[in-house]
Each structure stands twice: as C-alpha cells, then as structure tokens.
C-alpha cells in the first residue's frame, strides 16, 4: 500500500471553503485563533475580506455566526471539536439550534488522534453532545474526498450542520471520479453476510482493512460507511441487521452517545440483533503520537478483527 495518498480532513475542509467561495457568495468563515490549525487559513489567504477571526472566544463566535445567518450569510464557524461542541455547546443549542439558523460548524481536531496535545484537546464526546440538539445535522467524513463533498452538501442544505474533521492524515479511500455524497445516506463499501461493520470517520478505512483479513479467514463482512450520523440512515442499518444478524460499530469517539449509540437505538427499535461498539471506552485520552494512541485505544483494524471474532459467538 505504498502508493496510498494520505490527507487530513481538516485540510480538505480549508481547501473546500476556498474552492466553493466563488460559487457561494454568502459563504463567510469565522475562526477562533486557530486558522493555521483548522486550515481555514487557506480560505483566509484567498478571501481575506470574507474571513473573520473572533479571537479566543468561541461562545461569541457561535453567536456571531447565528446573527450572520439570520441576515442571509452562510457562516462556517471553525475551531477544535472540544471548543465547538464542548465549550460553546449551550450557544450552539440556543442561538443556532433553537432558531434553526443556517450555520455550519467546522469542528477539527476531533477524537483521540489529536495526539500529543493530550486529553484536554482530545474530544471524544462531540457527536454525543451534538446529537442531542433537535434539528442538528452531523457529518463525520472518512477521507479527503468525502470531507470536500460534506462541505458542498452543507452549503446546499438550509439548517445547522456540525462537521467533524481530523488532525491526522488519513488514507484517501474514495474514488474522486465516481464518488457521490448523499446527505443522510450510508454507503455500503463491501457486501458481506456474517456481520456488518458500521464505521465512521477514520475508522471506515480500518473497517475495510479488517474485512479483508476476515474474508481470508472465512468470515464474510459487510462494511458500511456512515458519514451522516444525524439523521442516521435507519433503512440501511435495519437492512444490515436483518441481513447479517450482528453489527459491530467503529468510531473515534466515546462509546457513549456516538455512532454506536445511534445504531443501537435504531436496531433495538426495529430489529434487535447484537450491536457491539468499538470506540473510546468512557475514559480520557493522553499524550502520544496519534497512530500509537489509535492502536492503544483499540481504534484499529486489528481490534475490529478481534472484536468481530468474539462477537460472532453472540449470533443466534
């Protein structure tokens, strides 16, 4: 796999903002002193008159975004996931969610793969927080191509959208020519019959790799990429539950309240089958290189393989 191209989705975010700015005249970008890290600096360089640094003041940034949207702008409020979903939660809820304003939140540095900065900056709770806000759309793209498409989809959608991007460069797994993004629709990347892995974000690639390994061992794995966590594709998840009778979820997020919870909620309502969750197990991260942390916290193809082998015993 030496020829695999890797790119951080935060970089895709910054580039997409720049590239769509010409077509979408109302697009403006806000940041909270992290433009170099969130990559909105790419946009700032091209469109300085449409970029507004709010300083280290995320609460106000979200409120300003709400006011801009109330006057017809499409603001992209950008900061780390910890501050977007965490610090500014109540402003997002009351000033953006409740009036259902057309604000896009670009939350970068999500999850454990923040790496060396450690636990204070590794946000594994943002999906859970954002899912509780009525009317909030949540997108967690898996690679460069999907991240770019997510920005376009957010621009074409009227309402608040939370987009989750990563710091770590991850493999580009989608095909640039044929890829189509449909908001709210999961993507079957691999057909299988014994178990479905429902993955999101950087875990999608790990799920595909795990499926290859398991296939060689005689286990047929269906792999589904859920880029839109809310509203979640209930139809597809129900189909997978019926088809394979076992689901394993994989996300770079707490096992509480994220993709795994959303899938389990769907499955228990419609067609109960075992749902085993892979994610961060209700604990804080710590400092270290991102790739090592992902392994340590079980966010790897190896752990998906192990978990599926164990989970197969749960099948009726």
């Amino acid at each position: 796999m030496a020829d695999v191209i890797k790119k951080a989705t935060r970089e895709s975010y910054g580039e997409a903002l720049r590239d769509f700015a010409q077509e979408y005249k109302e697009l403006v970008v806000l940041d909270a002193d992290l433009a170099a890290a969130t990559k909105t600096g790419i946009f700032k360089k091209a469109y300085p008159e449409r970029f507004f640094d709010c300083g280290i003041a995320e609460a106000n940034m979200m409120g300003v975004a709400a006011g801009l949207a109330a006057c017809g702008k499409i603001p992209f409020a950008s900061t780390f996931a910890m501050f977007a979903a965490g610090r500014a939660y109540e402003i997002v809820r009351n000033s953006i969610g409740y009036p259902h304003l057309n604000v896009k939140i670009g939350a970068t540095h999500a999850g454990i793969s923040v790496g060396e900065d450690g636990a204070t900056h590794q946000c594994n709770e943002d999906i859970a927080l954002m899912r509780t806000i009525p009317g909030m759309t949540i997108i967690n793209p898996c690679d460069d191509i999907e991240a770019r498409a997510a920005v376009k989809a957010a621009l074409d959608f009227n309402g608040p959208v939370y987009m989750r991007f990563g710091r770590l460069a991850v493999p580009v797994i989608n095909d640039r020519e044929t890829y189509k993004f449909e908001l709210g629709k999961g993507v079957v990347l691999r057909e299988g019959t014994d178990v479905t892995v429902v993955a999101t974000g950087l875990m999608v690639n790990e799920a595909v790799e795990a499926a290859k390994v398991l296939e060689s061992e005689g286990i047929s794995v269906q792999v589904v990429n859920i880029h839109t966590i809310k509203p979640i594709d209930k139809e597809l998840i129900t189909e997978c539950a019926e088809k394979t009778g076992l689901i394993v979820t994989a996300e770079e997020h707490s096992v509480i309240g994220g993709l795994g919870s959303a899938v389990a909620e769907t499955v228990t309502e419609r067609n109960p089958v075992p749902v085993v969750k892979i994610g961060v197990n209700d604990e804080y991260g710590h400092s270290g290189p991102a790739v090592d942390l992902l392994k340590e916290f079980g966010l790897s193809a190896e752990n998906i393989v192990r978990t599926i082998k164990d989970a197969m015993k749960l099948k009726k």
Partner: protein
C-alpha cells in the same frame, strides 16, 4: 422633543406597560420588573428610531433588535402588538400551551429578529447581524438590549471586544441599568460596575441616558447615530417596575406575576396615568 410627540410616546409607553401587566398576569409567571424598565426605550425605538414595518416583518432592509435580556419579552411583545405585528389578544395567552408568544423571544414570532433568553448570547447575534450589514453595504442598524445583571456573563465581553475590533458602528447596545438582579442589588451579588468605564475600555462610544425621559432618550439616540467609527453602548438609568408604584425598585418583582388584586391595582394605576396624559 416636540411636546405633542412626547405626550404621544408617553401614552404609547403606558399602553405597552399595560400589555406587560396583562401578559404576565394571564401567564401567571414571567418578569414584569425588568419589562417595565425598558418600555419607554422600546417605544422610542419602534415608533421613532427604527426603520420597521409591522406589515413587513421580514424586510431585509429593516433595522433589527435583539432582546438579549430575553426574559423581559412581555415588553417587546407588547410594543410589537401595538405596532401591529400580531393581535393584542395574543398577550393574554403569553406562555400558554399552543400560544405564539413563548416565555422568551423566539425567532418564529412575527417581529422577533432573534431567539434569546439565555443571557449573554443576544449581543453576539447582534454583532453578527451588524457585521452582515457592513459586509453587504446595507444601511440598517442593529440594537441589542442587555440587562445590567446580564453583563456579568463573560460572553458579553467577548462580544464587546469583537464589536469594537470590527468597528461595528451600526450596532447599539443598550444596558438597562435598573440596579437589580434576581439575587439582589447588582453591587451586592457580583458587581459589574463600573459599567460605563468597562464599555469605554473595550473601545465603545458610551452614552448615559435617563430611561424614562423621552427628551433624554432622544438626545442619547441622536448622539448614537452620529457615531461612525465604533459601536455605541447606551447605559440607561432605569427603574425596575417603572410605572407601577408597588413594583418600582423592588427586586421581588423580577420574576413574579401579579395576582388578581395586584393586577387590578397595577392596571388602575396605569389607566390613571393614561387618562392624565389624554386629559
């Protein structure tokens, strides 16, 4: 200000106050004290200062108002009803199930420019509206009304910094300085004073105003309009519960509705004031 115009505004403000009493009485809850302290300012804004039209509440060119101290919605609803945004009868079902008038301002109510009520947030939204106006080269102005207790919220100062940094001269923040918040006098709870110095230090043009004197209100807003390089903060000295004798300067009336007897007394006081103005 012309004497007949002034009298007319006083009459309208008196009716707005009656709406506050009507609304909170029928709701059996709500915040009459801080509503009554902003009635004159709201009347002036909606009848003299702001470019608004009750028949066309979504006009993109209109001036905007964000009631950052959203708990005093009864005053805003009352003035909007007077201006014809919705029927006055709606005030009687304020806070009721199925009513359009929510306990705090909601953007879906005709004439409400922003949902608000979680303190400290409205001023940020007002900054965003003012910034959008600047970006689009539009001439509308944005007004935000804050409580003096509300400015204890840190977000207010994030917004204050932002507004000055981006030169939002089309933004006017009005701080309703009635000196009282739920737990008592603002200086005893956790003092936000000195308010004028703080806004000045944050780069705002600061004006002080008597919130119950239309001549002074007119002077203050006229001065505000002449400022072209920075946001304006009007610190209005007001009386919590203004216009109803037993509510004036009483912190107890921050968040309590009048009972039947108190309702009657308040209404008869306001009716007497109106009669005197009309006589």
């Amino acid at each position: 200000m012309d004497a007949s115009l002034k009298k007319n505004l006083q009459k309208i403000a008196c009716k707005v106050r009656m709406g506050v009493i009507e609304g909170t009485y029928n709701a059996k809850s709500g915040h009459p004290g801080g509503s009554l302290s902003i009635c004159d300012t709201l009347t002036y804004l909606y009848y003299i200062k702001m470019n608004v039209d009750g028949a066309n509440p979504d006009d993109p060119a209109r001036d905007r108002l964000v009631l950052s101290k959203g708990h005093t919605a009864p005053a805003l609803y009352s003035v909007l009803a007077q201006k014809g945004y919705f029927d006055e009868i709606e005030l009687k079902s304020l806070r009721h199930i199925g009513a359009i008038l929510q306990g705090h301002p909601c953007i879906h109510i005709p004439g409400i420019d922003m949902s608000s009520g979680s303190l400290g947030q409205g001023i940020s939204a007002a900054c965003g509206m003012a910034l959008a106006g600047k970006l689009d080269g539009k001439s509308y102005n944005v007004y935000a009304i804050l409580g003096d207790g509300e400015i204890e919220e840190g977000q207010v100062w994030e917004a204050a910094m932002f507004a000055a940094h981006y030169g939002l001269s089309n933004l006017t923040a009005i701080v309703d300085n009635n000196g009282l918040q739920i737990d008592g006098a603002i200086n005893e709870v956790c003092s936000p004073e000195p308010i004028t110095d703080k806004f000045a230090a944050f780069g705002w043009h600061v004006i002080t105003m008597d919130a119950h004197d239309f001549d002074d209100i007119d002077r203050a807003f006229t001065e505000a309009s002449a400022v072209t390089d920075k946001p304006v903060a009007i610190i209005q000295k007001s009386v919590k519960g203004k216009g109803v004798s037993f509510m004036e300067n009483k912190v107890d009336w921050h968040g309590k509705a009048p009972n039947a007897q108190e309702y009657s007394q308040a209404m008869s006081e306001l009716e007497a004031q109106l009669k005197e103005l009309e006589g």
